[in-house]
């Protein structure tokens, strides 16, 4: 079981809810992923269309916990106000805090992120900050009151996997007791398995599932991958070596001596 603030979850796969071909496919993908947490957002509502109301009904029917985000926010005040609005609408103190600093990479503005995290943690929010693998930023976020970190694997939607393996491994080693969730940039299930093998606690996937040719099948594949990665981590992987070591015992080898 994974403990995130005061809540526990069995699933190590969180799913984003955006960019699916249809609401029905989204629902099937969440079930195939066996996800217990999905991310949601807030957007301007048209009084005529009421699209948000239909979406919210669908999510509630799925019976999953929601993790609202502050996607699209570029300033601390925007992010903090969006968090307040999300808490009211979704009825949760969880917030996936995003403060975007650069539009081409959607890289977090880590300075604004720390400032916003400090404000929201002091107000009782349980903050899941979308951050980089930077150790110093991670320290500042924890000092601000965060008890979970969400480092990126690669830029959002890029599908590149774990871009900075060394940095992410260092982050995992440095904060051994902090739940770390790889958020963003995963493209295929092997990326997710790798993250779990490295000791990350969970992954959050959206585009890789939603934009797959068959999102439901891909969701199931990611679910299997995180289970395999977690099992491998718990089983204790061997250390990589530079030279070969024979797996078949050499004692008693024929034609020797």
């Amino acid at each position: 079981m994974l403990k995130l603030y005061e809540q526990t979850t069995r699933s190590r796969l969180m799913l984003g809810t955006a960019r699916y071909p249809s609401p029905a496919v989204l629902g099937d993908a969440v079930r195939a992923a066996r996800a217990e947490v999905v991310t949601v957002s807030l957007r301007r509502e048209s009084a005529g269309e009421r699209a948000g109301q239909a979406f919210w009904s669908l999510v509630r029917e799925l019976g999953v916990r929601v993790l609202p985000n502050t996607a699209g926010c570029h300033a601390v005040k925007e992010a903090v106000t969006t968090a307040h609005m999300a808490r009211e609408v979704f009825g949760t103190t969880w917030i996936k805090l995003e403060v975007i600093g650069e539009d081409d990479t959607l890289q977090p503005d880590v300075f604004g992120l720390v400032d916003a995290a400090r404000i929201l943690c002091a107000e009782g929010f349980e903050v899941f900050p979308y951050t980089t693998e930077d150790l110093v930023v991670a320290e500042r976020l924890l000092a601000a009151g965060c008890r979970v970190l969400m480092p990126w694997g690669a830029p959002i939607g890029s599908g590149r996997g774990l871009n900075n393996l060394f940095g992410l491994t260092a982050l995992r080693a440095h904060f051994a007791d902090v739940p770390l969730i790889i958020d963003a940039g995963l493209g295929v299930p092997s990326h997710a398995a790798r993250a779990l093998e490295l000791g990350f606690d969970a992954v959050l996937v959206n585009t890789a599932v939603a934009q797959a040719r068959d999102p439901v099948q891909m969701a199931a594949a990611f679910a299997q991958a995180v289970e395999a990665g977690l099992a491998a981590r718990q089983a204790g992987p061997i250390e990589p070596r530079d030279l070969a070591t024979p797996s078949t015992p050499l004692i008693g080898t024929a034609f020797r001596g």
Binding site: L42, E45, A47, G52, W56, V59, E88, N206
Partner: protein, 65 residues
């Protein structure tokens, strides 16, 4: 009175936020609101007075990653 609702100018006869939302068709919707960048909790909408030119954001649940 003219107010800017989600980036579009709208006319309302009501001068409090709750009434304006009702008049503009948001009655019964699960939404969250802000006026001039400040969050206004649902419980405060009836007591929140609007002025000509105010910027009102009306947000609802949406897909997100």
């Amino acid at each position: 009175m003219k107010i800017l609702v989600n980036g579009a100018w709208r006319e309302t006869q009501r001068d409090e936020l709750a009434g304006a939302l009702e008049e503009l068709g948001y009655g019964g919707s699960v939404v969250s609101t802000a006026v001039n960048g400040e969050f206004i909790a649902a419980a405060l909408r009836a007591r929140t007075t609007l002025a000509d030119g105010d910027r009102v954001e009306v947000l609802a649940p949406m897909q997100g990653g």
